[in-house]
Amino acid sequence: MTDLVPKEQAKTRIARWIAQEFMSQQRRLFINLGVGTPTLVANYIRSDRIFLQAENGMLGVGPRAPSGQVDPLLINAGREPVTETPGCCYFDSATSFGMIRGGHIDATVIGAFEVDETGSIANWIIPNGRQMGVGGAMDLVAGARQVVVAMPHCSGSGKPKLVRACTLPVTGFNEADLVVTELAVFRFYETRMVLTEMAPEIDLDGLKAITEARFQVDPQLRTMAV
C-alpha cells in the first residue's frame, strides 16, 4: 500500500478499470473472477455479452445474493452466496476446469502477492506454515487466455509487489498479461513489461521508486481513468 490512494478507493478504481477494459472489447467474453478485489469487478460490468464462470461448477454467475435470499448451495469459488442469471448452468469440476485449461475462458482476474518483470505470478502461498491451499490458482493462470492481475501497487508494509524476480513460490511462469494497480497499468508482451497507463497521483519517477520490476514505457502512455 502507498498512501496516495485510500484503500477502498484503490480497490474500486482497479475493479472499475478492469470492468471497463472488458466492456470495451465489444465481444462475448467468459471471465473467471478470483476472490477479493477481482470479485468487485462484477459490480461494474454492464453487458449482456460478459459471462462469469465460477470454477466450482457454474457459468452465468449473477450478483451477490442479498441477505435473506441466500442459498448455501449457490456459491462462488470463494464461498460467497451468488445469484443465477438467465441461461446459467451447472457442471462438475472436471468440466469446469476443462473450460479453464482448454482455453475457453477468455480472462481470469486474480490477486497476487508478487508479479515479476517476466510476468511470473506468485499468488498461492506465503510459506509461513499456516496456510496450505492452492485451489484453482495454478489452473487459472496456466489456462485462461488472458491473465489479469488486480492488486495494490505495494504490500501492506509498503514493499513493491512488482518485483524483478518472484521471491515467493510461483503459481505460473510468464503468465501475466495485464497488471492493474491503483497507480498504474502494465501490459506484458512476451516477457516485456510495458507501462501503458499511470494514475494522476504519481509521476514516472515516483512510480519507478515503488516498482522494483524494470519496465518499458509505452510511447502512448495515458493517464489512468480514476
Binding site: N56, D71, I75, S93, R101, M132, M138, A142, G143, G172
Partner: protein, 221 residues
C-alpha cells in the same frame, strides 16, 4: 428388490469403511457434503484414513471433524486455508498432506473412474507442486504428467436418487460428487429424496446408477 439392496442407513454404510482406507468425500467448503455419512464416520472407530477432498471443512466442522478426531493419516486435496488445523497438523508431523491444483485434482479423480492411469496438463509446470513429476513437450509447450487418484470408498452427496441409484445434483453442489462416484471401489450416496425408477428424466440423470453402490436417504427433521 434393488431398492432394498442398495438402501441403508448412514450407520450401516459407515461399517463399510476400514481403518487405513482411502476415502473420497464430495464437499466444497462445508457445502454439498454428505452430512449424515460424515457424521457416522466421525462417530466410528475407524482411523488412519486418507481423506481425498477439495478441502477439509472448518476446524471441528464438516470434514474437519475427521482431523479433530485424529482419524486422519493423510490428506489429498487442494485448499486447506479454510481449516488452519490442517497446516498445524502437517507441521507437527501428525499427518501428510498432498496438494494438487484443483483442476488437476478433479481430472485425476475422473481419470481414476474412466480407466486413465495418467494424463498431461500445463497446470503447475515448474512450480513446487509438480517438481517431482515427469514432464513432456507437446507441440512446443511443456506439460506435467499427473496420475489418477483412486479411492476405496466415495461418500457423495446428491439431491435426488431413483431406486436404482441414478443421481441428480443441486446447483454448485454438483462439483466433485459425480467425479468421485466413478473413482472408488465402493460409492455411497447420501440423497435428499429417493423416487421410483423411471421418475427422473433420462436426459437429466447426471450419475448413472452403475457408479452407485449404496444409497442413504437423508432423515427428514
Amino acid at each position: 428388490m434393488l431398492r432394498e439392496e442398495k438402501m441403508c442407513t448412514a450407520g450401516e454404510a459407515a461399517t463399510e469403511i476400514r481403518s487405513g482406507d482411502r476415502i473420497m468425500v464430495g464437499s466444497f467448503g462445508n457445502s454439498g457434503y454428505p452430512e449424515a455419512l460424515v457424521d457416522a464416520v466421525a462417530q466410528s472407530e475407524v482411523t488412519n484414513l486418507t481423506i481425498i477432498s477439495n478441502d477439509l471443512g472448518s476446524p471441528g466442522i464438516g470434514l474437519g471433524r475427521f482431523l479433530a478426531n485424529r482419524q486422519v493419516k493423510a490428506l489429498i486435496g487442494n485448499y486447506y486455508n479454510w481449516n488452519p488445523d490442517v497446516a498445524a497438523a502437517k507441521n507437527s508431523g501428525a499427518i501428510e498432506v498432498t496438494l494438487v491444483p484443483q483442476g488437476t485434482f478433479a481430472e485425476a479423480i475422473r481419470a481414476a473412474g474412466v480407466g486413465i492411469p495418467a494424463f498431461y496438463v500445463a497446470t503447475g509446470v515448474g512450480t513446487a507442486l509438480t517438481e517431482d513429476k515427469p514432464t513432456a513437450v507437446f507441440d512446443g509447450r511443456t506439460y506435467v504428467m499427473e496420475r489418477a487418484i483412486h479411492a476405496d470408498v466415495a461418500l457423495i452427496r446428491a439431491r435426488k436418487a431413483d431406486t436404482l441409484g441414478n443421481l441428480s445434483y443441486y446447483k454448485t453442489a454438483r462439483n466433485f460428487n459425480p467425479l468421485m462416484a466413478m473413482a472408488a471401489r465402493l460409492t455411497i450416496a447420501e440423497v435428499d429424496e429417493i423416487v421410483p425408477a423411471g421418475e427422473l428424466d433420462p436426459e437429466c440423470i447426471v450419475t448413472p446408477h452403475i457408479f452407485v453402490d449404496m444409497l442413504v436417504e437423508k432423515v427428514k427433521r
